[in-house]
């Protein structure tokens, strides 16, 4: 009969192994315990001896491919009569959910659905109330019966209904929009970068609870500083914009208000607070907006930041940016440069927690010590995901950024 040998857990808790070398071929006659195959797991490379004597009917996983623990590795025909049996690890080898194994014979698995999932505390309450857990409709995660379900079932109130309204995300029913032609039009295929931008930003807008906050910054000293530093930078071949200063000031703010450097892990229901600072800089590319990510921006000098921002912008403009240069940011800065405008409601680069819009620097009248004076003023707009951070956090963050931008020498006092 055909004997299906499934890859056992040959280490302690390994989940898969790569087939390094087959020492037998289909059609070969093998002896029991004859060296059969070399498997490399994350712990060790081991040789598996043949578990049966017989003829190799089929090698299921070729060299160089990964075999999951529990997946059939080889079929050996031991020339006896009988139905195919699968003998695998006697331990708790997980059954891989692949089509390949689904097609082969295997013993029916005990269904997890028949087992009632509930915490010991819930079980205790059910027991005290005399409630049979198996009859309580479950509303918890992974089909878990919650204490509320038990109490609801006991008192006859549909606790499940109540819980459902809380935990279920509203589903937006969308009917595709058709635009009927009524005049001279041009139809451009909606795809590629445009389509990706649309998907990302709609998702962000529909998921994150955006609020936007705007602050006016007096950048007179920053303008003077940059004017002085510009020539020094140019000597080194660096084009010095305001972005490096904005990045540095943002990091100071993020350090103090880390909820803005976070993401919400919806699956695990955890807020992930990041202790690294990969700052995205939104740049207009030939096909649309892209965000170049300056990695570990907190560890770079102003000149390093300038170089990296320039390099990424150039890569995006020429369409040469690598994918990993465009993902993995923790916070994004969007600047329209001299166009700039007065304020904006930037859309968060999901799943980041916040995005900062930078507006035009212009000479404007300002009141200082009771006198009207001419200062260089600029607005910053910040959009924050209210699910993760509150208005206070956003406002305080921008306050921190303002402090650094208005007195840029502070940036250098804290430089690493």
């Amino acid at each position: 009969m055909a004997f299906e040998f499934k890859l056992p857990d040959i280490g302690e808790g390994v989940v898969e192994g790569e087939v390094v070398k087959w020492k037998v071929a289909e059609g070969d006659t093998v002896k029991m315990d004859q060296p059969m195959v070399e498997i490399m797991t994350d712990k060790a490379t081991v040789e598996i001896p043949a578990p049966k004597a017989g003829r190799v009917a089929r090698i299921m996983v070729p060299e160089g491919k990964i075999c999951l623990v529990g997946q059939v590795l080889i079929v050996i025909d031991d020339a006896t009569n009988g139905k195919a049996v699968a003998v695998a690890a006697p331990t708790l080898a997980p059954q891989p959910a692949t089509a390949a194994t689904a097609a082969t014979t295997r013993a029916p698995e005990p269904s997890l659905l028949r087992r009632v999932l509930a915490t010991p505390a819930t079980r205790k309450i059910a027991r005290e109330l005399g409630v049979d857990l198996g009859r309580v409709p479950a509303t918890g995660r992974n089909g878990r019966v919650t204490t509320a379900d038990v109490r609801g079932h006991h008192t006859g109130v549909g606790a499940s209904r109540l819980a459902t309204t809380i935990t279920t995300r509203p589903v937006v029913q969308e009917t595709p929009v058709t635009v009927v032609s009524i005049g001279n039009e041009e139809r451009i295929p909606f795809r590629g970068v445009r389509k990706a931008i649309a998907a990302n930003l709609s998702r962000s807008k529909l998921t994150a609870a955006h609020f936007t906050y705007v602050e006016e910054i007096d950048v007179t000293e920053l303008v003077a500083l940059r004017a002085r530093a510009k020539d020094r930078a140019a000597e080194r071949g660096i084009k010095l914009s305001y972005l490096p200063f904005l990045i540095r000031a943002s990091i100071a703010g993020l350090r103090k208000w880390p909820s803005l450097n976070s993401s919400l892990d919806e699956e695990k229901q955890e807020i992930v607070q990041k202790h690294y600072y990969h700052i995205g800089v939104a740049t207009q590319g030939p096909q649309g907006l892209s965000v170049g990510v300056v990695r570990d921006a907190d560890k770079k000098s102003i000149f390093d930041l300038a170089r990296e921002v320039e390099r990424l912008a150039e890569a995006i403009r020429t369409g040469k940016a690598a994918r990993d240069e465009l993902v993995g940011g923790t916070f994004t800065i969007s600047s329209l440069g001299q166009l700039g405008g007065v304020l904006a409601t930037p859309i968060i680069n999901f799943p980041e927690a916040a995005i900062m819009g930078v507006h035009k620097i212009a000479e404007k009248p300002a009141v200082r010590g009771g006198q009207i004076v001419i200062r260089q003023l600029m607005n910053l707009s910040i959009s924050v995901d209210h699910r993760i951070a509150d208005g206070y956090d956003g406002a305080m963050f921008l306050q921190e950024v303002k402090t650094y931008l208005e007195d840029p020498t502070l940036m250098f006092l804290e430089m690493v």
């Binding site: 040959i10 315990d33 712990k43 081991v46 598996i48 003998v87 087992r115 010991p120 079980r123």
Partner: protein, 369 residues
């Protein structure tokens, strides 16, 4: 040999007792305590480990048992020390001393049953493989925690002394890595101060998983550590079954006579992986392993000696190997076919009266099986 034991304690702890050279020739006379019967019995015990471990490792690779920690290459240290014990003595083993339990009389099937965790397993399938025990021969189940064997062994010996259970000896096994653990030092201190009938036996196989001996200790040898605690310490060639036997016999005799503890370092080499989950080629030079495997093998030198002495000729040796192999295969076949422990054993032996939640869970499990 006489000169080794007559030397001062520092010389014993830093020297190396050798009776059977790697080429199978004896250094001087073979101790009179070793006769043909004992020699052949020890050889069989060593052969059992060699043959059994090869089979059991294959079973692990085939997914038939979950884990295995082999002892090949260390057979002389294991069997030579176990052979020095008498009926009623206690063995507190580490990972690689199942062969000592088998030598003392633990049935092979009981060991194999433990590897399968089946209904015949004394531990009812609750332990990782390689954790056998046998109450009949006072072979204590291995504690997986490194070095705990030392305080356990010393504690059992102290209890015997307090209880007036005279004439019995405890041997506690540790590895080289264990000698860096606090437990080892605590146990040595108690042994030195209270002088219970204990032998602490270190199988120095030179690798604590991936940590080599030179990163383990800056001590000249492991045996010298005993001197600081006032425990007489021997250092022997662990691949020389006669040296191991003779040193352990002297230690056991001394303990039995009420003259206190001994620490023995048996210098050997782990020619295989630490366990079935390990791959030594990732961290050590396997050409050195090959030198130990081919040049210093404990079985090969013993076989050469036995043949030269006329105690076991080639034909008898082959017959013995065949018999051992058949015994191993039969034991595996029998235990593989044995049923699993009853489902209810999952919840037994902890509470005197089963609490409701375990009753409930057992009922749920029964519905599924």
């Amino acid at each position: 040999m006489t000169s080794y034991f007559a030397g001062d304690e520092l010389a014993r702890a830093t020297g190396l007792l050798e009776i059977l050279r790697p080429d199978g020739s004896a250094v001087g006379e073979v101790p009179r305590t070793i006769d043909r019967d004992l020699a052949v019995r020890m050889y069989r015990g060593m052969l059992l480990i060699r043959i059994m471990d090869e089979r059991l490792l294959a079973l692990q690779r085939q997914g038939r048992i979950g884990f295995y920690g082999e002892a090949r290459g260390q057979e002389a240290a294991i069997v030579g020390s176990a052979a020095a014990l008498a009926e009623g003595d206690w063995i507190v083993p580490a990972l690689r001393e199942a062969g000592a339990g088998l030598y003392a009389g633990m049935p092979l099937r009981q060991y194999i049953a433990q590897l399968y965790g089946n209904a015949n397993d004394a531990g009812k399938g609750r332990q990782l493989p390689c954790h056998p025990c046998d109450r009949a021969v006072n072979y204590v189940v291995m504690s997986s925690c490194i070095a705990t064997q030392a305080p356990h062994a010393v504690g059992i010996a102290m209890a015997m002394k307090i209880a007036g259970d005279a004439g019995k000896v405890v041997i506690g096994y540790v590895g080289d890595g264990a000698t860096s653990e606090p437990d080892f030092h605590v146990a040595m201190n108690f042994a030195g101060v209270f002088r219970p009938p204990v032998v602490l036996f270190c199988q120095n196989n030179q690798w604590a998983i991936s940590t080599p001996g030179k990163l383990q200790t800056a001590s000249q040898t492991i045996a010298v550590k005993g001197i600081a605690y006032g425990v007489d310490s021997f250092r022997v060639d662990g691949n020389d079954v006669f040296a191991v036997y003779e040193a352990t016999r002297r230690a056991v005799d001394r303990a039995r006579a009420g003259d206190g503890p001994t620490f023995i370092e048996a210098l050997t080499y782990r020619i295989g992986a630490h366990s079935s989950s390990d791959d030594p080629s990732r961290y050590r030079d396997e050409s050195i392993t090959l030198e130990w495997k081919t040049g210093k093998d404990p079985l090969a030198r013993f076989r050469t000696f036995l043949a030269a002495r006329g105690w076991l000729d080639d034909g008898a040796e082959a017959a013995l190997a065949e018999a051992v192999e058949a015994e191993v295969r039969a034991a595996i076949a029998a235990e593989e076919a044995a049923p699993l422990p009853p489902l209810a054993s999952l919840v037994e032996d902890v509470y005197e009266r089963l609490p409701w939640h375990l009753t409930e869970q057992l009922e749920e499990l029964r519905k599924e099986h």
